[in-house]
Symmetry: C2
């Protein structure tokens, strides 16, 4: 490897160039991460016979400073120049939940100029999925301002307009976040335009009740991604405890997909993703159910 080092127009080698490199002082955006931490929780039923209801939950933090003082936001923080984005995300996740080593996935990077009224902030959103039973320290115990909210989303309007060479599909989706103390809600407009064969999508917040920044858009995006991925990956098992019944698993699918599934077909479909154990549920007001675990070793 005795080749003459390459030099640029100024006659500098790469080494020399890097030594004298001046990053300059043009303005730079700040970069943050925002975390969408989901889990599944159970709500006890009044009827001893019935199974406890399950719900999808999202962790939010009440803002103690301007802007959006008093409103709820996704946990997040700045990415330092000395850490990777993913490290920043894991750090935020850990400070909120005290758990490391859980499923996490980058979703989307939000870069509108005016998304933060203080200054230019670009935010990279991550989704994390936690099995509630491994949340030893309930998030929010240390920080009095963090809380889990039940997430629900609903298509409230869908309209189609014919265009010159295509059409425009507008959907209004209401997202509601709810717990014992607080109810938050907002509406996202999702526009899909097809013209010629170019397809574009654009989302915007139509209405937002108590939710900071563009975080409603992030939630909408995350829910969509979760829905999509649940159908063709095993991502859902990150939300399940180590042992679970097939009915429980089916209910979690139903919550995420927003539709009911037929038990027989469901069982056939997931048969090779799970392994049965010798254990059964106890003290149900009805026939006990076999417990299963995730089978990651299949083809």
């Amino acid at each position: 490897m005795n080749k003459r080092p390459l030099t640029d127009a100024q006659g500098l080698t790469e080494e020399q160039f890097l030594q004298t490199y001046d990053a300059g002082e043009y303005e730079r955006p700040s970069v943050t991460v925002d975390m969408l931490i989901f889990t599944v929780m159970e709500r006890e039923q009044d009827n001893y016979r019935k199974l406890s209801d399950k719900s999808l939950q999202l962790l939010l933090i009440q803002r103690g400073q301007h802007p959006y003082l008093g409103q709820w936001a996704l946990p997040g923080g700045f990415v330092s120049v000395h850490e990777s984005i993913e490290e920043a995300a894991r750090r935020e996740l850990f400070t909120e939940t005290n758990i490391d080593n859980i499923y996490m996935e980058q979703l989307y990077t939000w870069g509108e100029v005016e998304r933060d009224p203080r200054m230019r902030v670009i935010s990279c959103s991550y989704m994390a999925l936690v099995d509630r039973t491994t949340l030893h320290v309930q998030a929010g115990d240390d920080a009095a301002d963090a809380a889990w909210f039940e997430v629900s989303h609903q298509l409230i309007e869908s309209s189609r307009k014919e265009l010159e060479q295509g059409y425009e599909l507008v959907k209004l989706i209401r997202i509601t976040l709810q717990n014992e103390q607080t109810t938050l809600s907002g509406v996202v407009e999702h526009v899909e335009t097809v013209q010629g064969h170019v397809r574009k999508t654009h989302s915007r917040i139509v209405e937002s009740e108590g939710l900071a920044f563009d975080h409603l858009l992030m939630m909408q995006y995350a829910i969509e991604r979760l829905r999509g991925k649940v159908e063709y990956t095993d991502i859902i098992f990150n939300l399940m405890p180590p042992l679970f019944t097939l009915s429980e698993l089916q209910r979690v699918y139903e919550i995420i997909l927003g539709k009911e599934l037929l038990a027989a077909a469901f069982r056939r479909k997931i048969a090779d993703r799970v392994t049965e154990t010798e254990e059964y549920t106890k003290d149900a007001g009805h026939r006990p159910s076999k417990l299963y675990r995730y089978n990651m070793n299949r083809e």
Copy 2:
């Protein structure tokens, strides 16, 4: 709406807070966009009877400065604080291809600390798909340093190691970029670790011949995304001219998916995505083929 404005711990209203807000002088990363601009091109066959070969092409730019002087990189540039990330991406796309209004999609944001030797740079990658026939001005005509490369990718090794509570799946993928003048090539290692029910993936460059930065990873990611999306969306029609034959469409599918498809099944499957026209191909050395167009108005 006569409520008293909220004040923070310092007694400031949001308006007052924003007026006095000082963004501070901690270090910030630079943010760039990198564009993966794909198109499909034809190569004439020597045999007059045979159809011309199709290939997936990617636009690259030869670097005229350090670092990676002389190597090839994805077109891209800095995101200014006065434009959104998407605006920056469209701007880059336009300066490279002279086309506006084509399909574009954000892929992933790359945030490793050392990915640029000059300074901390976070890069948001976008994929754009162009129908070659609408590329009036061939990209690279103005910039002598831009060129299209045929992309091919190949799984060269796949191994599985059993772990305590799971397994590790390692794949080596070779990506080759080729045109009349130049051949570039590199190998990406893709590791998927499953432990408990936590699944993680990590990619790294094992070998890179003439490709700058971490752009090989971006290519690998984009190809994977393209493959995935082709199966469950109509994204592929962005690569097709307004009129095309079903055989052409099938070939583009085959190139992207990297496998052969059976004509009968293929035609049944895409039947409702296309509309037949009254036109036919001419001067083929064989039976002429009906031309179709994309049918965006189906259910």
